[in-house]
């Protein structure tokens, strides 16, 4: 993919360069593994401090500071510590980790090995989405090459530190990306997320040992933090929102794709880089961070006070494109999967589509998510198929409210937030839609089939 001039590419610096190949020689010609060589000569704590000072935040969804996460690891247990790289990438709208794995796998391996060395992990696992068979092959090959060069395996580069990487194909479900579900799956079980407390990965993770789970992109950043130094790295972006982020833009824009940027606004990404709405269309709403995140409505004003007490009053295009900026607008940057809905999209239809996804992906463990998500799907599907009732709009909200915050894992939020935010921002459209699709007595077969077949 062509690199847009407004991008600031660090992670994907070489990935799309013509002639850049995923083999180790190519990677090393481009300065690969220099940082690992440096790292194994460094004090482990110093590397951890660098990561902490860089203010690197997780790229997988929740945006938790990586250095802080590393510091939580239970060191007193006497058990081995494991590193798990979350490459399950299945949040709808997200396709960034795939680029890294397919085009620059050694960067990930180097990032993992530096992180493992710094946190003294006994073993690393890459949990790769089942639907990325090619990626798994590429990683296997890359690890083989890295082992031959002693970057992975026993006594790495003569440092006395040994660590292996295991590639594990995922179990083909969205919930496998939730870190404790992932751990269960890695142990060979159903990916049922664990209750927290007590099963925080930092203490009782993989095989009940302390475990660090980080996203692919997060781990890649570690290499660059070491290369630039925390201070220099932290200058990219804004404080607390440092480094670049890879945004995956899909939907109603002229140039959908992935873009690595820093320090720009949402408007700059959507209009300048992605070319704005398609011909003859206008942007209706944007889901900023993967389908689970709350929707932002075009035309809405986003007002409030930031941390320093400065007031802001933004249109959608003014929202700073980072963790805190999108949070200030009432949503989250999530996994960086941005979906642009133009005026051809009917919001209730979009919601029905999404609910079909979530009800299909709920692991089914806990009552509110299991029952609520399918109920939401049945209601929205029925509405779309002409059997809407005026009271459905309030019912949808009530069901979502009954899920939110009552579940084992964050999937519950992922189901509830779209419903709540779509209704918040587009209530009129829902009510009008319900009126228009109120053909009671009509043929319900299609709706039933769609609603009840999984």
């Amino acid at each position: 993919m062509a690199i847009h001039p407004r991008e600031k590419r660090i992670i994907l610096k070489y990935a799309d360069e013509p002639g850049y190949t995923p083999d180790i020689d190519c990677y090393m010609r481009h300065g690969g593994y220099v940082m690992l060589k440096k790292a194994v000569g460094m004090d482990k704590q110093m590397i951890c401090d660098e990561v902490k000072n860089s203010q690197l935040r997780g790229r997988g969804g929740a945006g938790f500071p990586a250095g802080v996460k590393w510091s939580f690891v239970d060191r007193k247990s006497g058990k081995p510590v494991y590193m798990v790289c979350n490459c399950d990438e299945s949040e709808p709208g997200t396709f960034k980790d795939r680029q890294i794995v397919h085009k620059d796998p050694h960067q990930l391996i180097e990032g993992i090995m530096i992180s493992c060395f710094a946190t003294d992990c006994a073993k690393a696992f890459i949990y790769i989405r089942e639907e990325m068979p090619k990626g798994a092959k590429i990683l296997e090959q890359a690890i083989k090459e890295a082992k031959e060069k002693n970057f992975v395996g026993d006594d790495i580069l003569g440092s006395g530190y040994s660590c292996d990487i295991v590639v594990h194909r995922g179990a083909a479900a969205y919930i496998c990306g939730e870190e404790t579900g992932l751990i269960e799956s890695l142990e060979g079980k159903r990916a049922n997320p664990r209750i927290k407390p007590p099963y925080f990965p930092a203490a009782l993770g993989l095989y009940m040992c302390p475990t660090i789970v980080n996203n692919v992109e997060t781990l890649c950043n570690v290499k660059h933090i070491l290369e630039m130094g925390a201070e220099e790295y932290a200058k990219i972006g804004r404080p607390n929102n440092t480094g670049t982020r890879i945004w995956c833009v899909s939907g109603g824009v002229k140039r959908p794709g992935y873009y690595e940027v820093a320090g720009i606004t949402l408007g700059e990404l959507v209009y300048d880089i992605c070319g704005g709405p398609k011909e003859g269309r206008t942007i209706k709403a944007i889901i900023p961070g993967g389908s689970s995140m709350k929707i932002l409505k075009n035309g809405e004003r986003f007002k409030g006070k930031d941390r320093d007490g400065n007031e802001y009053d933004w249109g959608i295009e003014d929202i700073p494109l980072d963790y805190d900026g999108i949070a200030a607008a009432g949503s989250m940057s999530g996994s960086g999967g941005m979906m642009v809905l133009d005026d051809s999209v009917e919001i209730p239809v979009a919601l029905a589509n999404l609910m079909a996804f979530y009800s299909h992906e709920s692991c089914g463990q806990c009552t509110p998510c299991r029952e609520g998500s399918l109920w939401l799907k049945k209601i929205t599907t029925r509405m779309v198929h002409g059997e809407a009732r005026p009271e459905d709009v309030d019912l949808l909200r009530s069901v979502a409210d009954q899920i939110e915050g009552r579940t084992i894992c964050a999937f519950g939020f992922a189901v509830a937030w779209p419903v709540q935010s779509y209704l918040d921002k587009f209530e009129d459209e829902f009510r009008e839609f319900a009126q228009r699709h109120n053909h009671l007595g009509g043929d319900r077969t299609a709706a039933k089939e769609l609603a009840c077949n999984h």
Binding site: A173, I175, R190, I195, P197, P198, S359, H360, E361, S362, C363, G364, Q365, C366, T367, P368, R370, E371, G372, S373, L374, W375, K378, I379, R382, L395, S398, Q402, G405, R406, T407, I408, K448, A451, C452, H454
Partner: protein
């Protein structure tokens, strides 16, 4: 100040309460007699936290971020920082100063929500469901539900009447996916055969391919299933549970002495289920123990006394038995299946008859480390403690055999034991007069001169002493066949015939003697004995080579001798 005996103070709905650190909040609330409704939580299984019925509001005393000092209200009390969302009480362990609200509007609203969710895809078929009347979903729905439905969609369809194993039937539509049954199989029965397939609301409980739920504990899943998803194939559709009278009893299968509840209606027993005793069987029991009630109406049941093969009234049979025993040179074969009271009476009888010998017949089987011990008699220790015997019994009555051969023994009183099975030959039996007191026909009853038809453990009351020397009581559930006679009455009457004193013939009156005579039983009475039993001092018998290995709540005092 908090750490006295490791007790900490928590606050539930405004009441301070001292609990051991780590107590979960469902149990803590129960100490205040507050029920936090729950489905997936079970006191003897790991915490799954999946049903979310036990959601409560949770708060902890706040600390100032900068100084670390406790934050205080104006009145000086600690300021409680309440969590924004509800927390599961079952997965929340008591910590110093923890506050929970179990009946706040938020907590109540959570319960309503969970109840609604559990019902939307539930078939609501209580009228034809076996669990009705003892169904947690039914109870909580009426207590915590909204009372109306907002669900107009099609319900999910799932498999019905699935055979999970020889004794358990599954209705997946009723399953609330609490995973109790799965955890039981994994954690207690050590037989992982159950799991969920599919996802989300289509999740379906099932047996692993090629496996079945057939272990000897499978019916515990039926007990702990909070709904009518798992039902006992034996009990299914036999009786509405609200018609049943429940009587506390003890399992007679082995020396473990599992506590049970026997349910009956109008003189007929319908099922046996476990009764919680945290020192003996927790909340579990074997499948085989649940079948035992079937001995009451078995084909080979002795329903009338007889003399020389002719049916007689019980009183006549007793007179005849006394006469037979008067012949002298009598040996007594008692039983580890008898109650303490019967053994006590038998001992008195042995004394007044000046019996040549008193034996018991040992029964041994393989133990399973849980509730089946090697010793398959429920009350060998009772025989020891009443002084009926003073060594462990043998499986075969070889001594008695040679005494018969030598003519030293001419008469045998066998209580419950089949002498043929215990190793005596046809020839030996034909050499002696036999009085048999028992419940079922066997080779001995066929040969006996006098047969006293006795009662099963379901038809009488008494006590037995288990492997821990815990004395436990069982109670009469049904009256027993008309022609039968209570064993204790029979033994006492015969004993009275041989002595000048009047011998007590009821459990209550026997206890007066027992308590007076034997220091081990003093200060005890049948009436006052708690339903959890009481451990007696068995140290006098510690030197005996008991064969039992470890069971759920029993550690052998000495190396168990492997059963040969």
């Amino acid at each position: 100040m908090e750490d006295k005996d490791n007790l900490i103070t928590v606050n539930i709905d405004g009441h301070d309460l001292q609990v051991p650190a780590g107590t979960n909040m469902v149990e803590a609330a129960a100490m205040l007699r507050k029920e936090i409704p729950h489905y997936c939580y079970h006191p003897k299984l790991s915490i799954a936290g999946n049903c979310r019925m036990c959601l409560v509001e949770l708060g902890m005393p706040g600390r100032d971020r900068a100084t670390g000092e406790p934050m205080l209200n104006e009145d000086g009390s600690p300021k409680i920082m309440w969590m924004p969302g509800p927390a599961i009480a079952c997965g929340t362990k008591a910590a110093p100063g923890m506050h929970i609200k179990t009946d706040s509007p938020k907590a109540l609203e959570s319960r309503e929500a969970i109840t609604e969710f559990l019902l939307i895809n539930h078939p609501l078929d209580c009228p034809i469901c076996d669990q009705a009347g003892e169904c947690t979903l039914q109870e909580f729905s009426s207590k915590h539900g909204r009372g109306y439905s907002r669900f107009i969609e099609e319900k999910n369809v799932k498999p019905k009447r699935t055979r999970l194993g020889p004794r358990v039937t599954l209705d997946d539509e009723r399953c609330v996916l609490c995973s109790r049954c799965i955890r039981f199989c994994d954690e207690i029965a050590n037989d992982s055969v159950l799991g969920f397939t599919d996802r989300g609301s289509y999740s379906t409980l099932t047996c692993f391919p090629g496996k079945e739920l057939a272990n000897n504990y499978s019916l515990n899943t039926v007990d702990i299933c909070p709904v009518g998803a798992l039902t006992s194939t034996d009990f299914r559709f036999k009786m509405r549970v609200w018609f049943l009278t429940e009587i506390n009893s003890i399992d007679f299968e082995t020396s473990v002495g599992t506590n049970t509840v026997v349910s009956a209606r109008e003189g007929k027993i319908y099922r046996v289920t476990p009764r919680r005793n945290d020192e003996v069987n927790d909340t579990w029991m074997t499948d085989s123990g649940r079948e035992l009630y079937k001995i009451v109406e078995a084909e080979d049941r002795l329903t009338a006394c007889s003399v020389a093969g002719e049916e007689t009234a019980a009183t006549e049979a007793i007179v005849k038995a006394s006469e037979t025993l008067r012949g002298g040179k009598t040996a007594i074969v008692g039983s580890g299946q008898c109650s303490v009271e019967e053994q006590f009476a038998l001992k008195a009888l042995a004394k007044s008859l000046d019996a040549v010998s008193v034996d018991l017949v040992a029964r041994y089987g393989e133990d399973d480390g849980l509730l089946m011990s090697v010793d398959r008699n429920p009350n060998v220790r009772g025989a020891l403690m009443t002084g009926l015997i003073d060594t462990l019994p043998e499986e075969r009555l070889e001594d008695l055999g040679s005494k018969i051969d030598s003519g030293e023994v001419r008469t045998v009183l066998s209580v419950k034991e089949d002498l043929t099975e215990a190793g005596l030959s046809e020839e030996q039996l034909s050499k002696v007069d036999i009085v048999f007191l028992g419940t079922h026909r066997n080779a001995t009853s066929e040969k006996a001169d006098v047969v006293l038809a006795g009662l099963t453990q379901f038809e009488k009351s008494g006590t037995v002493i288990n492997q821990q020397f815990r004395i436990q009581k069982f109670n009469r559930v049904v009256p027993g066949p008309r022609g039968c006679i209570e064993d204790l009455y029979a033994l006492s009457t015969i004993a009275a015939n041989f002595s000048d004193e009047k011998f007590p013939s009821t459990v209550g009156s026997i206890w007066k003697q027992l308590a007076g005579e034997n220091s081990q039983f003093s200060e005890l009475s049948f009436q006052s004995l708690s339903d959890q039993g009481q451990v007696l001092d068995g140290s006098a018998f510690e030197h005996l080579p008991f064969r039992e290995g470890k069971s759920l709540h029993f550690e052998p005092k000495r190396e168990a001798v492997a059963a040969e």
